[in-house]
Subunit: 255 residues, 2 copies
DNA sequence: TCCAGGAGTTCGACGATGCAGAACGCTTAA
DNA sequence: TTAAGCGTTCTGCATCGTCGAACTCCTGGA
């Protein structure tokens, strides 16, 4: 099963996490569901799930196993471990309030962007449901801003590893185009997303660096093309975001 | 190593999660640190950590391994899976805004209370750092409110499993006292915490149930004894919270 | 410059342990 | 009453996780 992995790894651990991911994907599953889904013997799935439950990583309700809140605990701890994350959260909230659009903060992990905070202007649409979601780094404003802060070697690594898949007809899929785009971002200080990720959506992103110039993450604000145009899109928003990123960097430096 | 666990479980998985928990506890560790911490051979720790990194559950920076954001992803997904959680979050925010005190929503897992949302009135102190934290269910307002909604058998199970450890001199450590306290909560509709968890802190908790009467979680608001007294503590707050819980239950029922 | 110490990595051999499959009991539906 | 489906338990086999040794790389001190 799934033997595309290198040798020399702990196979049992792979099946353990395969099971957890199956539970996430199925939104909870019974023993035999999991077993057939992964091609395991029923007894094996049973043993794994029982162990996961004893370790308190999985809860069982009426025979249906689901991931437990311990993942949330570990996730929150890794998120808040760095004080800078709290500062970034404030800025995300501020941006959402000022622009009344959707704003988010992402960091890079394994060559992809990961949503760390997100907020929206209107209270009603307020949802955190995509926190932790991984997005292709080359097709989002925040992702490109982040890429621009990385070293050339790291950029090459990421492109080699993840490729440049097209998400819409506007996605940049050519490496040299992307590189010159990144050059432009470094000059301007901010990045633009022109429906490269989703048709009908534009966005502006700004990188955020630590005091010593090492990359930290990126802020972005996104909205519909009919609102994101003209002076707002070309001047007001970029200036607001550059200012916000600058404040954030100063806050980080002196905290 | 650590052989107090039952036979018939997947031992390798236990060491895998032991390693993850060690990384959480140490806030990142090197291979040999983890190995000596858990009494493993260096090569074993190496193999596990390499596997965890390949599975993208752990990131490595300059030889130091840390839990990755995938835990956050799984945690957020389990939290937001149930739509009711979003509704609960709104109420936590509302309570924090109205009372200008700390408010939280907890659910029960493995016989303990788990913070699912938390908010505080003043923006400055706004921190989510304790999300996911597990608390003794008998020594908190929300915990007792939650306990009061459970079946007698489940209550017995929890007490047998977790015991009633004293956290302060006011903690209820006697089972029959706790049971009559729960009876009172069922009558009144809300619970009170009189410095049972932390000296100097009082709190009020209300249970939240699904439309069919099954337990969902509990809301609570906590504050310092010098503010939590008199009419506020005896009337205003309880009424506010009972109303809020009632609204929440209605929202849940018709969503 | 050389050596010593510590860290990460690789390798091989042993035996613990994870795995599949069968068998059993329970519940549900026909 | 029976059959199907599910969870649970057990047992034997061979896989695979474990340890320890050996090697390299890096760093700091003499």
């Amino acid at each position: 099963m799934a033997s595309e992995h290198e040798r020399g790894r702990v196979k049992t651990m792979e099946t353990a996490f395969d099971i957890i991911e199956t539970l996430v994907a199925l939104d909870g599953g019974r023993i035999s569901e999991v077993a057939s889904e992964l091609g395991l013997a029923k007894s094996t799935a049973h043993r794994h799930l029982t162990t996961l439950e004893e370790l308190e990583y999985v809860v069982v309700d009426d025979g249906v196993y689901r991931p437990g809140l311990r993942f949330l605990q570990i996730g929150e701890q890794t998120r808040t471990r760095q004080e800078a994350y709290e500062l970034a959260k404030e800025k995300v909230t501020d941006l959402a309030a000022e622009t009344e659009e959707r704003s988010q903060f992402i960091v890079e992990e394994y060559g992809r962007g990961v949503y760390v905070f997100r907020d929206t202007g209107q209270r009603a649409v307020h949802t955190d449901s995509e926190i932790g979601k991984r997005i292709p780094i080359h097709a989002t404003a925040a992702g490109k801003a982040l890429l621009a802060t990385l070293s050339d070697e790291r950029i090459t690594e990421i492109i080699d590893h993840r490729g440049l898949p097209a998400l819409t007809e506007h996605t940049i899929t050519d490496e040299s185009t992307l590189r010159s785009e990144l050059e432009g971002i470094r000059d301007r200080g901010y990045s633009i997303n022109q429906q490269e990720n989703t048709i009908g959506l534009r966005a502006i992103g700004v990188p955020v660096e630590h005091g010593d110039g090492t990359p930290f993450g990126a802020l972005s604000v996104s909205g519909p093309t009919h609102r994101f145009q003209g002076t707002l899109f070309e001047e007001t928003l970029p200036n607001l975001m550059l200012g916000t990123a600058n404040e954030l960097e100063l806050n980080i430096q002196y905290s």
